[in-house]
Symmetry: C2
Subunit: 326 residues, 2 copies
């Protein structure tokens, strides 16, 4: 502890920091769930509301030349909306706090805000507040207010024996990021998986309405790391079957090792990872066009294990994307 | 328009940009008031809520060495809470989106968050969400959810003939900032006016409860500039009596010209500027220890004029603090 308290963020990392934030006292009777999940749950006007905030920093989360300004705005909405999806909610109101370099063009700024507002409106969410500051780089920080569809999903309800599902396909966004970073050949449409994430709002809402999932999280930092968050919150472990992972088609030509790395640790997929009692796994609510794949099982204990196709089982490295570590 | 659309932010400025944002379509029936005031007003669960976001960027709004980390956190809460105060509300929930340099110490980060959370709790507001990213400099972006005490105050209700009031005393924060910037001698307690702004929550709440004010705004960018925002929103002009301004005691030794500059254009005061029908000016609700001073009158038209002690009247320069312009 002493070492950590005197340490640098680059050593401690974001998640350890957020873990500590949870220890802050909060005795507000209108706060159902504070820091530590994808959204907070608060009570207001006799109902429950979801609150979440997330930022995209130029040079850390994205580079300006990776997309047109409207695309950056759309993506900022999507990654925030994904946190609402992970709680089984609908986004209703959005606020956008922008930092822009002095050299930024007004046309770019407007396109970015319009991209954000249009994406929000498409999801039934109104951009109601904005703030703009000068600064050394673009920072697109958004806050969303959502309403749960039924009972909000949390990270903390998984039980041993529950099946672990993931929506969609994994790895394409991380693969696209490697192209954008110039680490792989490719361009154009092959980078769309990173540039155009689709928050799983309909699926999250359906799961919450049907009370089908015991726990949920979105895959933003990497499957194993996000599974780690879910398991820690639920005080359980898990075992993931490597050969059941729904790899994105874009990874087809890669080695198995590269595919697994992208799917397990790549992040940016914004798919939902959720747990379901085995008895309910056949009656899951569906979201049109969204594939659901059972990829493992919740276990007692705290270890996250991966079962290889060979049957070999190893303890997983749950480190994924941490802005301060890489 | 063509020039502006192709222009840079450093030429257009933040406020012109925000004016344009207001033009974005918003047809949500749960949005009572969108972008363009101190807070948005939305309907949720049958009640009205206030939403606001504001950011402090290192090197633009503050320098790290100007205060201890807890002080920066406290101030970030205060400047956001001031927007809630200007709408006559109580802050209830807060989210904090932090960008910190990699070199930042974990102890500093914790102290900052604790400073923010403690200030929030002192105002009846719970910190319920947090986000942390790496980046080139500190950026403390907060979002507050508040509830109006009675009918929310807006910038847009002032009428010709209304009296213009300001709370507290003006200029001390801008004077303190000049000390902090090394442009004036002084130190320690003389910089507290900048480092420890006090959001006028009790006053705002009392004004909203009594329906006493026709319009209100907080003085963050400079008295004349903020008065300009209020007048534009209300489609009125105003005349301010320069010799009625409640100068802060710290300005006593300065020339009259310097005092006026700090009070009119300095900003950072976080006092409330509000308008009151003349018939109600004698029955204003009071907030203990907060002086209220009538400093002028709302006029027809759109010009903001200043009446000097000599009786001379001039049209005011309403440019104050704009992050892109200075």
């Amino acid at each position: 502890m002493a070492t950590e308290a005197g340490g640098r963020l680059s050593e401690l990392g974001e998640f350890a920091f957020l873990e500590r934030l949870r220890a802050l006292p909060s005795a507000d009777r209108d706060v159902d769930l504070g820091i530590g999940d994808d959204c907070a749950i608060v009570r207001a006007g006799g109902r429950r509301w979801l609150l979440t905030t997330d930022a995209l920093v130029e040079g850390v989360h994205f580079r300006w030349r990776w997309d047109d300004p409207a695309g950056h705005g759309r993506r900022a909405f999507a990654v925030n909306a994904s946190d609402i999806a992970a709680m089984g909610g609908r986004p209703r109101f959005a606020l956008l706090s922008l930092v822009a370099p002095k050299r930024a063009s007004v046309a770019d700024l407007h396109a970015l805000v319009r991209g954000f507002a249009t994406a929000a409106r498409g999801a039934g969410c109104a951009l109601v507040g904005g703030n703009l500051s000068g600064g050394p780089c673009w920072t697109i920080s958004a806050t969303l207010v959502g309403e749960p569809c039924g009972t909000a999903l949390r990270r903390s309800g998984a039980h041993p024996g529950d099946l672990l599902f993931v929506s969609g396909r994994l790895g394409a966004a991380a693969y696209a990021r490697e192209i954008l970073l110039g680490r792989r050949p490719g361009s154009g449409s092959r980078t769309a998986a990173f540039r155009r994430p689709i928050p799983r709002l309909a699926l999250g809402c359906a799961l919450a309405r049907a009370r089908a999932a015991t726990a949920a999280i979105d895959v933003s930092d990497g499957l194993l790391q996000d599974l780690g968050h879910l398991c820690r919150a639920s005080r359980v472990g898990a075992i993931v079957d490597a050969d059941r992972l729904p790899f994105a088609p874009a990874l087809r030509a890669l080695s198995k090792r590269a595919r697994l790395r992208l799917a397990f640790a790549g992040g940016e997929d914004y798919e939902l990872l959720f747990t379901v009692p085995a008895s309910r796994a056949r009656r899951l609510p569906r979201s049109p066009g969204v594939r659901l794949t059972p990829i493992g099982t919740i276990m007692p204990g705290s270890a996250i294990r991966v079962r290889e196709a060979s049957g070999e089982i190893r303890v997983a490295d749950t480190r994924g994307f941490d802005h301060f570590r890489r």
